[in-house]
Symmetry: C2
Subunit: 405 residues, 2 copies
């Protein structure tokens, strides 16, 4: 059960973008597991990819194709990551692109491939190729919800966000989908995120906006610290509404805010539906010397199995939080007498020990909440950072001990 | 249930060292939770402490006392870590030393305090102080087994090792005890480890030998990646048997081997009895450019929740192992086509994908073993490192969700 409301929004269609979803029976017969995006010729695309050295074949092919051409189609399969598949995996990813290019009259390099699912199994190419015509036949601007369903793996619910904003008298729309739900500690990207807008934006500015927004959203979440082999986040601008230029500060600010809203909502949705999650946890580190220091501290707390199991148990075990903080990279010289720790509005610890005002009853009350903010003040600078994570439950172990992902 | 045989050895007594164990009722009435070591005046002591910035009061006091004097007594309590206890915690640790010093006629600084257990609770000083005379009255050279019991927290079994070696016609003995079993990712030390020898060794050489041996033992294990606030490892040399000098290479090598044997056995015992452990896992990384690179890669695999849950499930999920490898610090430029992966003697992956010779049956057979070696060859250098870890089970979550540690 995800934490909080994850119902899909009413998706605004994006002019110049159509989506087709069908079944290729990749892992289970009948499951809608193949998604095709079609982009108008006016579209610019920006992307960020996983930094995992052991990256999947489609990641390598997509990166190469993006450098060679402006994309017109995306082809996404779930149920098989096409990772750890060696030379054959790369050939399969290219063959998928070639087949879709043939069907649609574009070049192979104008197709980007994406895969998610089990690592180390060969893609079932005959079934995948056979399903492509059906996917193309279904292309329609209204299929965002189906696409959000079609990219799920261990997610219990689909994830989407959609907003609009007014820019110089024109309405600009942004819609996006993403998936989780394990092997989530994105490094410059997320498991899979596809965001589109009808605004007109140059490729260079689009890439800059995407990188900024990814750093404030997908790069601030973690489920289990395991960076995936297949992380990709794509931002597509079809150019059919208002133009956003770098020099038009007001328009740029409006668009940036709207984009960040969509991407933070998607990133938080991944955490809310994290494998086995029963709590949605915001970790704020304040009073750090630098943003890097604050971020390292926040992620060290977020990854601590002892903190995560205490959250699962609704145990206000502040000793585990401070113990994790104390081993964070860069904090070897931390003066613990300057550190304070809050759970929501309750002060738990200060001056190296339990706060005089703290009562176990107050801690227990906070820990009953499904959404908790852990706020640590280091007392040694002005920088702060926030990350989002979830707890570590029996179900996380069950899901990952039972599922070959 | 620990993995493998953890029965205690016959401990060789160490001439010049006596141990007293009693109950102070710190957490539970009647539990043997207070251990006193008495060291002959001839003894030299070397120590390594946790690098956790949020270190416990007794760690800070022990470090200060060691700089000021040569220790004659150790006082160790379990059931309460005296960490996160602010100024009062430090005053309590000093008061404990002062009380024992008064009883035994030494200076306060000749007593080192150690604590393990729950973080953030004040030490129950009246009960602790009241038990000291009884602990002193029980001092005896034969109490190693009782001491191994007396320092346990979530350990299911006590841990000890004892060896002897012949050095220049004299028999030198080494005996040691240690405890786990969670919050274990020692950084320059372990949770608690006390090792003693009757050899005569200068303090400088003793510290060097301890640091070397810790790096090859306690600093090569991890249960959950959480470095404790109270880690301490002490090596005591009572000087009542053969003298070990730096320039006497043969004697030094014999002693170094024997010491390493004791410390590796203790470190591995901590992993075998790790919280919820069902598998004992050796991770070897070979063909690395440097030892740092090999060690980072090995620990990244060892800490991956997805690898650990696959080990628990006896699932030969090599994709998760290589995915963890691919996110290891320093391996951003790893050429995955050069990487090979074995489980025991079974080759699972090479050239970026599944090995042609590999069968699921062979993988499944290896994973049924309680002791498994994961061997990764990076194919880019000559350095190698080994770490030891355990799997991640439902019981780990239960233990840490139920126990306020």
């Amino acid at each position: 059960m995800p934490v909080g409301d994850l119902s899909l929004p009413e998706f605004y269609p994006i002019a110049g973008l159509r989506i087709g979803v069908t079944s290729a029976g990749i892992k289970k017969p009948g499951r809608q597991d193949l998604v095709i995006f079609e982009l108008a010729e006016s579209t610019q695309v920006a992307a960020v990819f996983t930094r995992n050295a052991f990256c999947a074949a489609p990641v390598r092919v997509a990166r190469a194709h993006l450098q060679a051409a402006v994309p017109r189609y995306l082809v996404i399969n779930t149920g098989n990551a096409n990772a750890g598949t060696g030379q054959q995996g790369e050939a399969d990813a290219r063959a998928t692109c070639a087949a879709l290019a043939e069907l649609t009259g574009v070049s192979e390099q104008q197709v980007l491939p994406f895969s998610t699912g089990v690592i180390g199994e060969p893609l079932p190419m005959p079934r995948l190729l056979a399903a492509l015509p059906q996917g193309v036949a279904k292309l329609d601007a209204t299929h965002w919800s189906e696409a959000a369903q079609g990219i799920m793996t261990t997610d219990t619910l689909p994830k989407g966000a959609s907003v609009r904003c007014e820019i110089e008298g024109q309405t600009v729309h942004i819609s996006g989908i993403a998936k989780g739900a394990g092997m989530i500690k994105p490094n410059m990207a997320t498991m899979l995120g596809f965001i589109a807008t009808d605004a007109q934006i140059s490729q260079a500015l689009l890439q800059q906006l995407l990188t900024e927004a990814v750093n404030a959203s997908f790069n601030r979440i973690t489920i289990d610290g395991d960076t995936s082999t297949n992380d990709v986040c794509l931002l597509m601008a079809t150019g059919q509404s208002a133009e956003i230029k770098a020099e038009d500060t007001a328009a740029l600010a409006s668009f940036r805010d709207a984009l960040r809203q969509v991407m933070v909502q998607l990133a938080q949705a991944i955490v809310r539906d994290g494998e086995g999650a029963t709590k949605f946890v915001t970790i704020q580190v304040q009073g750090a010397k630098s943003e890097t220091e604050a971020l390292e501290a926040a992620f060290t707390i977020a990854h601590s199995p002892l903190v995560k199991t205490a959250l699962y148990a609704s145990d206000a075990n502040w000793g585990r939080i401070l113990a994790a903080l104390g081993r964070a990279p860069g904090l070897e010289d931390l003066d613990i007498s300057q550190v304070s720790l809050h759970l929501n509005d309750v002060l738990l610890a200060e001056q190296g020990g339990r706060a005089a005002s703290y009562t176990e009853a107050a801690g227990a009350a906070v820990m009953q909440e499904a959404e908790i903010t852990i706020r640590v003040h280091l007392g040694r600078g002005q920088a702060e950072e926030t990350v989002w994570t979830c707890d570590f439950s029996h179900d996380y172990v069950s899901i990952n001990a039972d599922y070959r992902s």
